[in-house]
Symmetry: C2
Subunit: 166 residues, 2 copies
DNA sequence: TCACTTAGATATCGTTTGTATCTATCATTA
DNA sequence: TAATGATAGATACAAACGATATCTAAGTGA
């Protein structure tokens, strides 16, 4: 039944071989897989990729404001509101008063939030080991570095040629 | 205006430094940037990342069926229907009759579809050059290879240790 | 012929993320 | 100090993406 050779007439190995030349295509496919795995891993903790990220940033940066959190996570400000509502309602995060500005909140993780963060970091570290199992550490670091560079390059105004940021 | 030193108390360089250890996080951020750029580049052609991908696969694999297209793009079958409706209504793709199976279609690109595909490939190639401008070719290929490996690793049943696929 | 499977279409939902707008509160200055 | 404009967060809404469930028509096999 399973014909190992499912060659489509004059197809070049894979039907999407042309697309696989482009990093964006391969990235999109890889992200889908990784997101599924990481969300499955975090579900038992009541977290998703995004709420996990928010929690980690808050734990690491006590006193952070919501707008700074949004900036750090590269999303628009409204997107953090419901996540914080959730984390706060579960007693993981407090929206403390920002000193000297009654509009703003100073975000901080509770003890429970820090505990959960530690657990989640372990879960995600295991996830990372799982999905990068096919890479050695040098490849893994090179991957992260390359992705970071691409993010920055793509965020820069298109058409600019100067890389200086001194 | 721009205070170059926005150090947050005892923050470690970047507020999301912890998260940047994880490939999934960096991938997600990079994908967002790349997707925006590629979609902006394709908009003048009336394409998006996904319809572009579908068009390329159809051009490369004449006679392909919808289910095979969905498989090739790693999405569920309903997701290709509306994209094909669009491509077909614009005269870029034909849903020809599949020989010997009246349920199935044999997809093929029209002349116009092939033309547009060529243009789109050029646009996307330029996009690729733009976003990978910070990488040399070796890094770019290593990135693509690493992402492919991760996709495959992550798709494999979790917890398995055997890599054999003979 | 009857039961089962498969290709594609339709309907619907969930997630993720963005834009626009509202409010309270700042900060500035006439 | 009152008016103006900017900013922090909340709310409402919408667009894009992708999945599941189910329907139909057509194929397959006992």
């Amino acid at each position: 039944m399973n014909a190992p050779d499912k060659a489509i007439e004059g197809a070049e190995t894979a039907p999407d071989a042309t697309l696989r030349q482009f990093s964006g295509y391969v990235m999109k496919r890889a992200v889908a897989v990784v997101r599924n795995d990481i969300n499955a891993a975090l579900t038992p903790l009541g977290l998703r990729m995004f709420s996990f990220s928010a929690l980690v940033v808050i734990v690491d940066n006590p006193g952070l404001r919501q707008a700074q959190l949004a900036d750090a996570l590269a999303v628009e400000r409204p997107n953090v509101v419901s996540v914080l509502d959730d984390l706060q309602s579960r007693g993981l995060v407090r929206r403390g008063r920002a000193p000297g500005d009654k509009r703003a909140y100073a975000l901080e993780a509770t003890e429970a939030g820090q505990d959960l963060c530690r657990q989640a970091l372990q879960v995600v570290t295991e996830h990372e080991a799982r999905v990068t199992h096919g890479l050695d550490e040098g490849q893994r670091l090179a991957l992260i570095r390359a992705l970071s560079i691409m993010e920055q390059t793509g965020r820069a105004p298109a058409g600019r040629e100067d890389d200086d940021e001194s």
